[in-house]
Symmetry: D3
Subunit: 316 residues, 6 copies
Amino acid sequence: MTGKEERIVYLTDGFVPESQAHISIADAGIVMGATVTEMTRTFRRKPYRLRDHVERLYRSFKYARLGQLEIGREEMVALTEKLIEHNAPLESDGVELGVVHFITPGLFRNYLGGAAGVGKMTPTVCIHSFPLRLNLFRRGLAEGFHAVTPPTRHIPPQCLDPKLKYRSRLHWWIADREAKAVDPAAVTLLLDLEGNITETSGANFMLVRDGVIYSPTTRNILLGVSRKAALEIAAGLGITVVEKDLQLYDAITADEAFVTTTPFCIGAVTRINGLPVGDGTPGPVFEKLLAAWSEEVGVDIRKQVLEFPEEQGEID
Amino acid sequence: MTGKEERIVYLTDGFVPESQAHISIADAGIVMGATVTEMTRTFRRKPYRLRDHVERLYRSFKYARLGQLEIGREEMVALTEKLIEHNAPLESDGVELGVVHFITPGLFRNYLGGAAGVGKMTPTVCIHSFPLRLNLFRRGLAEGFHAVTPPTRHIPPQCLDPKLKYRSRLHWWIADREAKAVDPAAVTLLLDLEGNITETSGANFMLVRDGVIYSPTTRNILLGVSRKAALEIAAGLGITVVEKDLQLYDAITADEAFVTTTPFCIGAVTRINGLPVGDGTPGPVFEKLLAAWSEEVGVDIRKQVLEFPEEQGEID
Amino acid sequence: MTGKEERIVYLTDGFVPESQAHISIADAGIVMGATVTEMTRTFRRKPYRLRDHVERLYRSFKYARLGQLEIGREEMVALTEKLIEHNAPLESDGVELGVVHFITPGLFRNYLGGAAGVGKMTPTVCIHSFPLRLNLFRRGLAEGFHAVTPPTRHIPPQCLDPKLKYRSRLHWWIADREAKAVDPAAVTLLLDLEGNITETSGANFMLVRDGVIYSPTTRNILLGVSRKAALEIAAGLGITVVEKDLQLYDAITADEAFVTTTPFCIGAVTRINGLPVGDGTPGPVFEKLLAAWSEEVGVDIRKQVLEFPEEQGEID
Amino acid sequence: MTGKEERIVYLTDGFVPESQAHISIADAGIVMGATVTEMTRTFRRKPYRLRDHVERLYRSFKYARLGQLEIGREEMVALTEKLIEHNAPLESDGVELGVVHFITPGLFRNYLGGAAGVGKMTPTVCIHSFPLRLNLFRRGLAEGFHAVTPPTRHIPPQCLDPKLKYRSRLHWWIADREAKAVDPAAVTLLLDLEGNITETSGANFMLVRDGVIYSPTTRNILLGVSRKAALEIAAGLGITVVEKDLQLYDAITADEAFVTTTPFCIGAVTRINGLPVGDGTPGPVFEKLLAAWSEEVGVDIRKQVLEFPEEQGEID
Amino acid sequence: MTGKEERIVYLTDGFVPESQAHISIADAGIVMGATVTEMTRTFRRKPYRLRDHVERLYRSFKYARLGQLEIGREEMVALTEKLIEHNAPLESDGVELGVVHFITPGLFRNYLGGAAGVGKMTPTVCIHSFPLRLNLFRRGLAEGFHAVTPPTRHIPPQCLDPKLKYRSRLHWWIADREAKAVDPAAVTLLLDLEGNITETSGANFMLVRDGVIYSPTTRNILLGVSRKAALEIAAGLGITVVEKDLQLYDAITADEAFVTTTPFCIGAVTRINGLPVGDGTPGPVFEKLLAAWSEEVGVDIRKQVLEFPEEQGEID
Amino acid sequence: MTGKEERIVYLTDGFVPESQAHISIADAGIVMGATVTEMTRTFRRKPYRLRDHVERLYRSFKYARLGQLEIGREEMVALTEKLIEHNAPLESDGVELGVVHFITPGLFRNYLGGAAGVGKMTPTVCIHSFPLRLNLFRRGLAEGFHAVTPPTRHIPPQCLDPKLKYRSRLHWWIADREAKAVDPAAVTLLLDLEGNITETSGANFMLVRDGVIYSPTTRNILLGVSRKAALEIAAGLGITVVEKDLQLYDAITADEAFVTTTPFCIGAVTRINGLPVGDGTPGPVFEKLLAAWSEEVGVDIRKQVLEFPEEQGEID
């Protein structure tokens, strides 16, 4: 196989074939989970709101004080586009790309011996892509997800602010296991320390009552790029959006609920902790947003997800 | 260079030369910081309290629900000893080893294309060693550390329990940057959400008043192997140890303070937030513990640290 | 006395004379306080906003997971109207009715012996009415209530959400005793765990500053039917309403304060913890709301309350 | 049927046949859940630690300020013994009794019309018995219970102190539903607002590590009569008991865990949130306590439970 | 020196020369810090928004229950103007006045012996002025302040509400010392117990993103007179202001940040915890507000500050 | 009047007659409440545990970072003794002295004009004495105090640690007013933010159950000198003392409760929030402590208090 035929990955100093893209066991990303990240998807193989993702990546990097970055925002966008240009043709027809950025502070030299143990840390920068398995999200575009709140609470901002898109997410791993004990297909809806709804482990959450969309406050959620898109689309449709602290009662007695997230933009939530939301099916506001969003991206989002082929073998 | 002349690393399926020990960019350890870990050191090139570290590793693994582990405790000990046996002779004379264990849930297959994208997750298991740079800890064995409390608070146990030895530690990275803004040589002493003293980003913290050792409660600290050793040594010396919630006032007005941690066992803390602890020099209880500890391990711990050669080049 | 001459009560399976309407000592309502409830009043013997109350009852029932309910919303409304129709003529002239709904999960069969101890729980459903003793509320329509904050705090939503109208209110009983130690005529104004104003033990609380009405957020208050009515009436009068976290300082330095509640719609609060609110008399915004509300219900609310006859005997 | 052949119930003014023991819909116990309570069991039809239960009942009554009680402690004990004397012979051979006490502030007279609406509240006092269905607890004496922590948190003492044995327990009802969504046979283990382990909805919880029993602090648990018995028995066996804040990590990595409660004294907890405690079977400390307890009460507690006949029909 | 040539101070019973204006060591202001206060400045030697300050002083006094005040609002204004009239001519040309009000409950008579030890407390009322050292604030009008968050948290409103302008500020003294350990020129930006931004020890804090001004909520900040002025000026300029809970992430990733306070109205904040805000220089919204404010007060605020002469000698 | 006939006060630079001991309106003690303090009493005109008080004063001063102190501990003791020697003879026969120390950071020079406005801050140090009005404490030595918990909560240690003896106590002033609304003779018992009992506004609080003394933890109370004395005396009497988090339930259902404080050493608490503690009279443990304490100090403490003459005139 030639490099042309293999996906490429950008790794700190330049592009390498994916099979050579590894992370050192001394990297702060693996040693401390000290990593900021982004995930962008393509529509028709063009990156969607890439600039928003790159801007947030730099905000996260700054806030987390991960070091000095050689690459500027413009170059990051150009490198990303170059990677997509190379990798997209390697995927099957109709397959969209997930494009990942992540940055760590670099190597902990005290884990290395000899000459390698000396010198300053310089950030590890990585861009890579993968074929989006849209089939994993069918539930959200069909009958709707079941959201389950685990006993584990979200990390509060004075410990680690969720507005940072970071990868120290062991608490999400554990929370997911707890939620899946209720329903293996559950999405995990985390409460904060005061019992307010925050976000799922992967998406922003909103609900609808009397035609108005309610979002948790920005106190302990990611300022999602898809969330922002949803709010813009809602504004375009003349739908009021109110940001306030929401509790499970609000969600369970709402008319509708949904999540927004990069891979599939928007998915209905039709059950929470075993109780139906509204009549237990995706609601009209969700449908309006989905339709307008499909229009914005030039792709029928639901169709694309529902028609994505099932995979062979067991997926964990 | 032959394998004999290169350090080896245990990586999931067996030993590999260190230069081939890499982590996939799709590993949950890098993608989510979903990693449990241990760090054991050698004294005279024999691992110290290795079994305690391995036991805790399995407790962390269980609690974090990282999957099914093929390797049992006994085998883990044996593999570790084998690795030390191979790697120790490769280090310079008199150099001790740090031995790291870490386990992640394995690969997130949705980040991989093609056939690799199918199948269950199986844990990534890694054991590796490195030469302990004891010179980094001189301050703790000489004039004593300066502990600084940053504005960032420690993550509470209902979000992610610090009794788990985990690697989702971006909050520690940030807290360290905040503390080093006060003193570049500071050790970072984290408070919990109620303002109680927890631990430093790397060690357990204790204080001494009227000959009694006070430790924070086990609510939000690591149950350190060195902490346990210190408590045993204190018991052997007839020193009372009391576990209770401690606040900065207790530490700042204490007679002595110290930290316990794997790389250098025990280090004095002689300043906190710019104020001297006691008379600002290492105190008698610290000295007694250090002496007894040196005896237990058959190494003069202070001498070993203070005589360790300075390195060339800049260390970050 | 014939059934015609005695009040009737709806109790799970049908109407019974009030004298036969009892609750089993094994009912979950008495054993666990596991009860959701509503209180509707009549104006001119027609139920006021009955549908709002019934809708909330079903939301509470759903959230509390009290079981499967045979009766639908429409039937619940019809049963209620039938009860009023029967009971209203039995009260003295000019007396309005309080109409209570409550539902429990039914009998805890393990408290019963023999055959009764076997079988599933089926909800206990009760509707009953009583003559509204409007004289109890004179203070609120005349010189204004004295609100007192007890040391007991309101239960937070992650323990039991006050948006649920439930009957596990022992904490209110105790809080009332504490407040009445300051002033036997006090209404009890509860703070939440963060010191925000929530509600009284029986009414929603609002304040007025510079012509704007401020309400606590919906985080830890009942979404009162009278509160909603007040907000609609305020909107009709062109009065701005702002929802935000309020503290005692806001209330004590406000221009006006008032409560809204089913039995008397709205009552002035003119003292808080011994300090006058504004000039210590009911204010102009309160008066406007009271006038508009009286118009909406076709009854002079203040007059009806103030002219209600005093009762004989001691009331506790 | 003669009174002799029907169970009797003590209800405020005297004994009545069980079939006539009802609670008014205006009773504060049903209207506000303003009820303090006790549950005592018999061993060989003699009440076990009845005086401890009665003492706590009076402490709860005092703290909750439910009114003035005519009956003194001695009389309460005597009434209880008289009730057992009458009711015990009515149960099948070998069946033990659960004896319930509860007290409420009495009738809310504003819910009553006419003359009944006037007068002071006087407490409702009830004592009743039922045959203990020991078969419901088999799991705890055989393979051990599965404890599950729901997202709902326990009510903190500054809202309503769990040291009070009260009946405003709707939050427990909801928490039980959440836990049973994980495992229909789960016992519900509640965390407090800081994530500490409190108690189950019905029992005290303790764990064992290295031969030492650890109990949550008395901050937010019931001071259980069975807990006290367990601590006394442990003392008698020379087992150390430590009271401290415990988190899920402590429980999940413990050697053993168990609950103590009136109906069956002590039951093993062998799984928590799906993870085995120790080796997943009842442990040696549990067995020692159970044996000593059986000796104290003169009944083989496990045998009595395991041999209790299964019931016919569905139990919910 | 004649009285004419010395500043006067109003002290409880009348004006006295400044050299005779002392506080008793038994005054509740010194014994308990039980003091409410205000600071007004002049522009061109006329007091700015004096009435707003006096109104707040009376609100603070009322809330703090400091006693009975003989002097009414009108008289307080008149006394203040009289004091300015007398004291202003005594300052150098071009120097503006800071005018301080403070009130305490008066003398703790138990600290006094003999006849003085008997009688009721009567409030100590003080008005005094001083020449504003505008040079101290240059940084805020030039390159911008560096705001640093200390580990100490602001006192929450259920302990002592910051909406009260009070003088029990030892926590600010300590927090200032902590912040100055990072940067001796730092302004101290306090977080609340939940990690929200509150205010600096002396000013309100706001930030700007996408042309919108964001202010912390009024939950735990002073309702600053300058803050109110800023909001009015922003409204006049058509700038939207949003009040919401803000965290450090919001501030560090904002386009601009600034503080508002009596001595210099508004100052840019261009660094927070060592990180630049926006491009690290005062931003356009700040400049617009400064210009409009200068217009409102008829003084070029920046020029007045920057041209104020440096002082001789060391200032602490 | 000669100096001999007037009390003297130590004020920063030396002794002055009491009539000349004033605090500047620019002193940080009055401007910010930035003051640490002590209160020592005499027994038979000899200071009691003076060294303990002076040691704590220096700990408070250090923690609060009030500056550089010229006077050392020994000199402080000597100055205090000298002051007592001078002042004691000036009081009536049999009158004991309260001796107060307080230290502030000194003058805020920006509040001063001209030359005084330049220079570093130097601490204000004050020692003064007053005749102890023991009659104010009769209740505690006779029928016992009534402790009342106000809605205001104590300031938590991460804002301002109560282990510091400081004077920023406006929250205590307000809390006292709230408690006195329940009972004008109440002592104010503050809860912390989690609802634990802390201390009264002036004394440490303890309770007794089954012969064991329980004290709140040192988390948020003053480490009282009298508390320490009480613990020593209890130890001498063979009474066990347990330190743990206590809630109102513990206090209200205790056998006894009492406070310890400098002016009268120990006082019974026989009512809490209107409910009797134990039988509502001072209990046997209190009596034992009082007797032993009287012996230690060589004075019958109760007699001294109860026989102290009532004062003429109104005391506030």
